[in-house]
């Protein structure tokens, strides 16, 4: 598996995009050391918060909807690139874009930034498979590429093409869901919590048999033993999400 050689992790544990901000963590509250840190999602242009942003709990987890607000790539680099360069942890900027040109431009820019060890490309729930593959192609450059897809898409056939294209890893990230808010309005957002662990475990187990690509489990891990079970089931890395906020 040549792709695996692209990525170099001293420890399989890291955070999920959106959980530790744009600067490397000053502290890491987990029994196992971190092998990398992933930035909050970054778009090329500044992006405002969603109007209906929310954080709603349900038995077994929580829904968080923010609209992925961020100041845009230029502002992120202006404010934080020095910290990325100084950090002992390799940085994986998580990027997302509206077009392949936009994504390609962001990757070229990030290749020049010290401390960046890999790119994580976010593919959203609604992106058609062909479009997702075009985005992946646009993100392939000198740096290893981890493609992040929602857990709900783990069984889609297009994922088999990622390895041949040159992607370095597949990240199974938080899936979307919908809950009523306090006033009964339906809000859609990312789901987090231990309720997702059985789903990510079955997906990792299946994909590790069929996919020639390192798999990073990025949902549902709230206890060290959950992550260890995923590693035993074939995961190459583990991303922690809101457990890092507790």
């Amino acid at each position: 598996m040549n792709a695996r050689l692209d990525l170099d992790l001293e420890s399989p544990w890291m955070n999920a995009a959106g959980t530790l901000g744009f600067t490397p963590p000053e502290r890491w509250d987990w029994p196992h050391p971190a092998g990398a840190w992933v930035t909050d999602p970054i778009s090329l242009s500044p992006r405002s918060p969603a109007d209906n942003r929310a954080a709603l709990s349900f038995p077994g987890g929580a829904l968080v909807h923010s609209g992925l607000p961020n100041p845009g790539l230029n502002a992120v680099l202006r404010r934080h690139a020095e910290a990325w360069a100084r950090s002992p942890l390799p940085a994986w900027p998580h990027i997302f874009g509206r077009s392949p040109e936009e994504i390609h431009g962001m990757v070229l820019r990030l290749e020049e930034v010290e401390g960046v060890a890999a790119i994580e490309l976010g593919i959203d729930d609604d992106c058609p498979a062909e479009e997702a593959l075009v985005q992946v192609d646009a993100a392939l450059g000198e740096l290893p590429l981890a493609v992040s897809v929602p857990l709900a898409r783990a069984g889609e056939p297009w994922l088999e093409r990622l390895s041949r294209m040159g992607a370095s890893a597949l990240v199974l990230s938080a899936r979307r869901g919908t809950l009523p808010d306090n006033e009964g309005r339906l809000v859609s957002g990312r789901l987090y919590g231990p309720a997702l662990f059985p789903q990510v475990l079955v997906a990792v187990h299946a994909l590790s048999q069929s996919l020639r690509l390192p798999i990073i489990a990025g949902a549902g891990v709230y206890r060290p033993q959950d992550g260890e079970a995923l590693l035993k089931a074939g995961a190459w890395g583990i991303q922690l999400d809101t457990v890092l906020w507790l």
Partner: protein
Amino acid sequence: MIEASVQLMEVQLAGEGLVGGRIPCPPRMALKPGQYLAASAPALNDTLPTTLFPSQLDGDTIVLAPPLPAAWLPGTALKLRGPLGKGFHLPPAGRRLALAALDTHPYRLLPLIAPALAQGMEIALFTPLIPAGLPPQVEVLPVQSLPEAPAWADYLAIDVPASGLPGLRARLGLKPGQVPALHAETLVLAPMPCAARAECGVCAVKTKAGWRHACQDGPVFDLSTLELE
């Protein structure tokens, strides 16, 4: 910012079905009015931290403003992180303090009362409900009287949900674009799931300088800096 483990000492019925509580104040935890703690109960498998505001600070214990999670009972072990965010700035030379709880209860404003009384301030509380144990020096007024506050007070502390910001100027009796002639600060109540860990954006507040995060740039903002229209 420090981290500490404590046990919930008691839960308190605060009226109107609201439940607050009390915890021991961890050593070196210098929580100020308007600041908050991020708390979780490890035994209850929390997914997100709970935001805790003080309603009374007496040095040894912290009385927690409602609401608390229904699953928290006396003795529940809590992991705390704080103090977080920016709190209120009671002016040292202030003479008349107005407190206003808009579309919410007044408990998060109550920690301002003791230091205000200590410096001899007169206090008016504009509130939809009267909390128990209020000192007799505090005059309680209906929220509808709030337009009187800017002319009387020299410091105004407001607690309002983020959804209430667009109408706030009118509720203060001000015209569009008009700035109150007194020092006014606003606790903007918004969900703060990452509690300053991630800039997750859920608590984003629009200010005249752009979007800011209530969890780390607030939750208390100078009213004149907020984009209210």
